[in-house]
């Protein structure tokens, strides 16, 4: 599926000398840099929707730079919304995805790549948690899905993350979007009284704090609100630590160029390939180096599934080494098992880094993890018997296997019962100012602008809570260390005792949550 782009040049500079997207950035108008980033993402077909009075200037600037993007003029906000609706309808007809983005947006190519090249994202919105220059509208999420979006006329309270003025929709989403835009256009030509009140409230806040400048009018935020209110499924695509800004004058444009250059884009993209929520050992002792292996694998053109299979082979080799039962055999097995685990992390990181995802790959990864682990159990028990243990070791091995299987099912059964409870939110009509978030408690993992303060507060308790559940990284370390130093009996006993504690701990917590 191809993606086309629609750039919005509707925002005026603070000194009223023209559109923000023609501000000089790295010695050329910002919009040219953005178009070049889009070309790097194979989005060659771009259209610019501009306020009529700037149409000629923009067309000249683009043609001077050899850009073929068409510039369409619109007289006012209602016309801009109609123009958006036309573009969305065209996308639905041609079966393309459409990226809609503010033409003055200064960010990295990688941020846009995350939005348009990730096969898991059909329709999505760029979002960010840091305090950013020019982000004025907030979003509310539910498990990564956007359930509420702020606009000049719509309120989100309390917000959770920032709306970063870039939206991608698939053909089905575009159909919903065009309908929403037409509705917004007709509403805006004679705005309902609550809209005017909300808009006045925001203008007032703006006067008191002019730093949050753009956003007195914003067709893109309105479109997104319309999509959400019409039930479209929009995913939040986080900016992470990449740069983002919407400069409004020469000074802020120069600052944006300098600040963007400060960010090591490739490093951030590589860091972004690491699973966001993972165990302690994996996070601090494996991912920091395994991501470099993932990058090397990407350069060698390896696929995630090849890495998954390689990891299984290493796990099988570890099991074979453990099966000797001797001290050297157990030490070799321990090392091979750690190698297998490293590559188990690499496959997922490679998939995220290269955006090469498949449902089969995810299944294979999960299934091979268990296969590795149980092969190792069998190898350990076999080796112990070879070196003098009796059948009791097989009882321990079977017990460890059973404990792992039961714990796993406890996790997934509980998760399944929770998913069943997720209620469909009744979205209010577009006329209503308040969305579903108004009155909701603040988000649990609040991504408010004060991100760093939040992080400090939640970090210290998070790790012990995770370690106690014996995640795979910790488990494999326990197996390697106990097997190499003491032998299989201690390995299985540790797994059984720790597994039982983990099961009791998480089940007790879940029972209390389920009953209250």
């Amino acid at each position: 599926m191809t993606t086309t782009a629609l750039l919005l040049a509707l925002t005026e500079r603070t000194d009223s000398t023209g559109p923000t997207c023609l501000l000089e950035l790295d010695d050329r108008p910002q919009i040219l840099g953005l178009l070049e980033q889009l070309e790097g993402l194979d989005i060659a077909d771009a259209t610019v929707l501009a306020t009529s009075e700037w149409q000629d200037d923009l067309a000249t600037a683009l043609s001077e730079a050899g850009q073929t993007a068409a510039v369409k003029g619109v007289a006012d906000e209602a016309a801009a919304l109609e123009g958006l609706a036309d573009a969305l309808e065209a996308a639905t007809r041609s079966g393309d995805s459409l990226l809609i983005i503010q033409a003055d947006l200064v960010t990295h190519r990688g941020a846009l790549a995350n939005l348009v090249q990730d096969p898991r994202i059909d329709s999505g919105v760029l979002s960010g948690t840091a305090d950013m220059d020019g982000a004025v509208f907030s979003l509310r999420l539910d498990q990564g899905r956007i359930i509420d979006c702020e606009s000049p006329y719509h309120r989100v309270e309390p917000g959770q993350t920032w709306f970063l003025e870039a939206v991608t929709v698939d053909p089905a989403g575009a159909a919903v979007g065009s309908e929403a835009c037409r509705e917004c256009a007709s509403l805006i030509s004679s705005p309902p009284a609550p809209w005017l009140a909300e808009s006045a409230r925001k203008q007032d806040a703006l006067r008191r704090d002019p730093a949050t400048s753009p956003g007195s009018t914003d067709a893109l935020a309105l479109l997104t609100t319309g999509l959400v209110r019409h039930g479209a499924e929009l995913r939040s695509v986080p900016l992470r630590d990449l740069y983002w800004a919407r400069p409004t004058d020469r000074g802020s444009a120069e600052a944006a160029a300098a600040d963007r250059a400060q960010v090591d884009e490739e490093q951030v993209m590589l860091d972004g390939a690491v699973k966001a929520k993972d165990g302690f050992f994996t996070t601090f002792f494996v991912s920091p180096y395994s991501k470099h292996i993932a990058r090397a694998a990407a350069r060698m053109g390896l696929t995630p599934n090849q890495i998954t299979v390689f990891s299984l082979l290493l796990g099988a080799a570890a099991a074979a080494a453990f099966a000797f039962g001797t001290l050297p055999g157990r030490i070799v097995g321990a090392v091979l098992l750690q190698l297998a685990f490293t590559f188990d992390c690499v496959d997922g990181q490679l998939a995220r880094y290269t955006k090469n995802f498949s449902a089969f790959g995810a299944w294979l990864d999960s299934m091979f993890d268990r296969a590795k682990e149980y092969l190792v159990y069998a190898g350990l028990a076999y080796g112990a018997v070879r070196t003098g243990a009796d059948e009791f070791i097989w009882l321990l091995a079977a017990g460890a296997l059973a404990a792992q299987g039961i714990r796993h099912l406890l996790d997934f059964s509980y998760a399944a019962s929770r998913t069943g409870q997720a209620r469909e939110l009744q979205q209010p009509p577009l006329e209503a100012v308040d969305g579903v978030s108004v009155g909701l408690p603040p988000a649990k993992e609040a991504a408010a602008p004060i991100r760093h303060a939040n992080r400090l507060e939640t970090t210290w308790l998070r790790w012990p809570k995770r370690i106690i559940t014996l995640p795979i990284g910790e488990r494999f370390v326990v197996i390697s260390v106990t097997a190499a130093v003491w032998g299989a009996e201690v390995t299985f006993a540790t797994l059984l005792i720790w597994g039982a504690i983990a099961a009791l701990y998480s089940t007790a917590g879940r029972i209390m949550r389920a009953l209250t």
Binding site: A362, S366, L395, G405, T419
Partner: protein
Amino acid sequence: MTNALRSYRDDLPPIDHASGSASLGPGALVVGGVAPGVAALVATQEAGIWVGLTLGWFILVGSLIGSRSPLGWLVPPIIRAAEYGFVIGLTWWVDPAAMPAAFALLAAISYHEYDLVYRQRHQAGAPPRWLLVALGGWQLRMALVFVLAAADLLTPGLWTMAGWVGVVAVGESVHSWLSLKPDPRTSMESDDDVLD
């Protein structure tokens, strides 16, 4: 009861239609399904008969019990724990030399049960019903293990069961992926919310 929870039980079709007909909680499964038999076992020392009766009673209660109560998500793991515990305990008690075979059977069943979870997640669907029939569900597998123990055939019997479950489960899951048309709605992230 969600479809996922129903599938995780791994019932033998068509018994799976019965689940939920008794609106009892997981506590009833533990107390009502196991305790009377264990008490009788301790009181009378007539092991073989009481294990058989307890098993039959547990299969009946476990098949009927649903997951509607707030703690209904505990039912599939309890059933699983009963199955694994039964295979391990009975083998250890009757013929400890058959433990490697019991391990192999549990590994094969585990493969199938992980597959139930991950297929649901990544392929947006449960495995075909013929597979569930072929693998016997937890009901038939537990009954079969009891019969093998009673007939003193644990070692050959458990190895045969392990081979059958392993070959059928692995073969069917590989075949299902080879013949799958990509569906964009399925999850492409490996266990993201579970740290495992």
